[in-house]
């Protein structure tokens, strides 16, 4: 978060401390709590995630089992903590691996133009035009079900949007006098792109990445829900929700409570992104 904030500070706010607006703060608290709980899972989870107690099947939420138990008598709260950890890690991976690749590709396409632009842009168009979910599922079909497929499939398609945004930004930045000055001052092209164009280009991509994280989070959970992601008995929010679906009428907590955690995480990330994009960072006067 601080690294992100540093890159995105506008010059005018650079000297004063970074004012985060309320939206960002609320989002940060929600996300922070969930992330903290998820990563402390081995310490705070009351039961091992896969410990099945057949005598405690389908117990309603209580102080023993905060989110109740599922049909195998496993503690849903513990499974949710471990599951959220998997979701968050995979989400970060599939968002922040394609981001730099896409930004670099897009920056190069925008800066050099010509055939470099042609190749990269058409490739990105191809990825964007291709139905995303179908592509990811096709890759999962090739490498087999499991998170490996998700972690290959999503980045493979995900870089394209970043490339497109970075290219568009680069086309604008390139015409700025200070970029023309990198030429007249005899800077190398590497220096011009990485040091002088990159900060401006990264800004949009980082703001967009908060949105992308939510999409990816739901995608991971969705694929697991469909049985294409995390395989049982591993716990992951999507699989937990899918697992409880048959009991939605007699044991609502199994699907609903982990589902709410997923929603809260998504909303928290959304609030952060929203606050960052319209408040301090893109220069609109929202403060």
């Amino acid at each position: 978060m601080t690294a992100l904030a540093l890159v995105m500070r506008r010059p005018f706010t650079a000297r004063s401390s970074l004012h985060l607006n309320l939206t960002v703060k609320i989002g940060a608290v929600i996300v922070g709590l969930i992330v903290l709980a998820a990563f402390l899972a081995p310490i705070i989870a009351p039961y091992p995630p896969n410990e099945a107690k057949f005598l405690d099947q389908l117990q309603a939420p209580s102080f023993q089992h905060l989110m109740g138990t599922d049909s195998a008598g496993r503690d849903v709260f513990s499974r949710t903590l471990y599951g959220a950890r998997v979701d968050i890690l995979v989400m970060l991976f599939v968002t922040f691996v394609p981001l730099p690749i896409g930004v670099l590709a897009g920056a190069m396409a925008g800066y050099f133009g010509g055939w470099v632009d042609l190749v990269i842009s058409r490739l990105a168009d191809l990825m964007i035009a291709f139905p995303f979910l179908v592509l990811v599922m096709a890759i999962i079909a090739i490498v087999g079900p499991g998170l490996k497929g998700v972690m290959i499939g999503i980045p493979l398609a995900g870089w394209a949007l970043y490339a497109r945004m970075a290219r568009a930004e680069m086309l604008v930045v390139k015409e700025q006098n200070y970029m023309v000055a990198t030429k007249t001052l005899g800077y190398s092209r590497k220096r011009a792109i990485f040091r002088h164009a990159a900060p401006s280009i990264l800004r949009t991509s980082l703001v967009y990445s908060t949105l992308d994280m939510i999409v990816n989070l739901l995608l991971i959970a969705g694929l697991s829900y469909l049985g294409l992601g995390m395989q049982p008995p591993g716990s992951e929010l999507g699989t937990i929700i899918a697992n409880g679906q048959v009991h939605l009428l007699d044991a609502w907590w199994i699907s609903t409570l982990p589902g709410l955690v997923l929603v809260a995480l998504g909303v928290g990330l959304g609030l952060i992104g929203d606050g960052l994009s319209d408040g301090d960072l893109l220069g609109k006067e929202a403060r």
């Binding site: 650079a14 200070y178 000055a181 030429k183 007249t184 001052l185 040091r195």
Partner: protein, 337 residues
């Protein structure tokens, strides 16, 4: 080396490609001697910016140099490979832009960008670069350089930014400084200071300066020699004094006549505007491009080829007729029937 620093000959720059190519600069020749200050004057669209940018091969992507030779210190600029070109831009030629508000990278403090340039272009180490940064800022007249070095570009005034830009441009002791309308965005007092600075650089360090402006006054104040451009052509060239006193080409006369003078202040006499409009990009006019707006226009104007001819000891003009008329600058311009 005693030859000219910059020698442009027969330059033709076209915008667009193939069939649609439109010539924006036609058959332009300019020479800048060592330590010489040459002014390039002309109205918007006359091709002056394109011409000066071509000197370091910085013609925008839409345009290309279609003909002519550009030589810097005798080296063919058009034939340089990327590394030679980069070295030339880094060390031998500096460039200052019209808009000082956007020519410094907004995310770096002033000292950091100067230091970075020193390190990458001269291979300086950090301590040396730090010292040199302060010295450079001091040399371009930034007061309290230690303090202002820590500022971001947005915290500086336009004049200070232009000074910083000049400091950046003069890293590596360049032999030529190209200043493309360096004072247009500045107010008049600041303008005078920046022009002073450019002149001082020339006097103290022998940097040749190619100063581009649409303001004859700026050039008259600063330069040794002037090149007047109109519609992509050079129409007149000569020493500033003579050109100012005795403009040869009707366009130069009209241009000078349109400049307000101190005597005209408070009177209700309007300045002489040049009638008509400048030629559009790619518009092909037979003969002299200025003929349709010229008060001395005659039949023969439409068949001349606009080559510069020696019209006096030091002046050259592209108009072969006006001087035969005996019409001098004392003739009332625009007063013809």
């Amino acid at each position: 080396m005693s030859g000219p620093v910059l020698n442009i000959e027969g330059l033709r720059i076209e915008i667009g490609s193939g069939e649609d190519a439109k010539a924006a600069v036609r058959d332009v020749s300019i020479e800048v001697g060592q330590g010489e200050m040459v002014g390039l004057v002309g109205e918007s669209g006359s091709g002056k910016s394109l011409t000066c940018r071509s000197a370091i091969r910085l013609v925008p992507a839409a345009g290309r140099v279609a003909a002519g030779s550009i030589r810097f210190n005798g080296h063919d600029v058009m034939a340089m490979d990327r590394e030679e070109l980069r070295r030339m831009r880094a060390l031998d030629v500096g460039m200052v832009f019209q808009d000082p508000f956007s020519s410094l990278d907004p995310v770096f403090r002033v000292d950091r960008q100067i230091r970075e340039t020193l390190k990458s272009n001269l291979g300086m180490g950090t301590p040396a670069a730090k010292k040199e940064t302060i010295r450079l800022l001091d040399s371009v007249g930034i007061p309290d350089p230690e303090r202002w070095a820590r500022a971001y570009p947005h915290e500086l005034s336009g004049g200070m930014r232009q000074r910083v830009m000049i400091a950046l441009a003069t890293i590596g002791e360049p032999k030529l400084l190209i200043a493309d309308e360096p004072t247009t965005a500045l107010d008049v007092t600041t303008q005078a200071q920046i022009l002073d600075l450019l002149r001082r650089l020339r006097d103290e360090r022998g940097v040749a300066v190619l100063l581009v402006s649409h303001d004859f006054g700026v050039i008259a104040e600063t330069c040794d020699r002037v090149v007047v451009m109109y519609g992509g052509h050079v129409v007149e060239t000569g020493p500033v004094g003579e050109t100012y006193e005795k403009p040869q080409h009707p366009y130069t006369r009209a241009l000078l006549a349109s400049v307000p003078t101190i005597e005209s202040a408070g009177t209700h006499r309007r300045r002489e505007a040049i009638p008509g409009r400048p030629p559009e990009l790619g518009e092909k006019l037979p003969g002299c491009v200025f003929a349709p707006r010229c008060s001395f226009e005659r039949e023969a104007c439409h068949s001349i080829d606009m080559t510069l001819e020696q019209v006096s000891a030091k002046q050259r003009s592209a108009c072969p007729f006006v001087r035969a008329d005996g019409a001098r600058n004392d003739t009332v311009i625009g007063g013809a029937p």
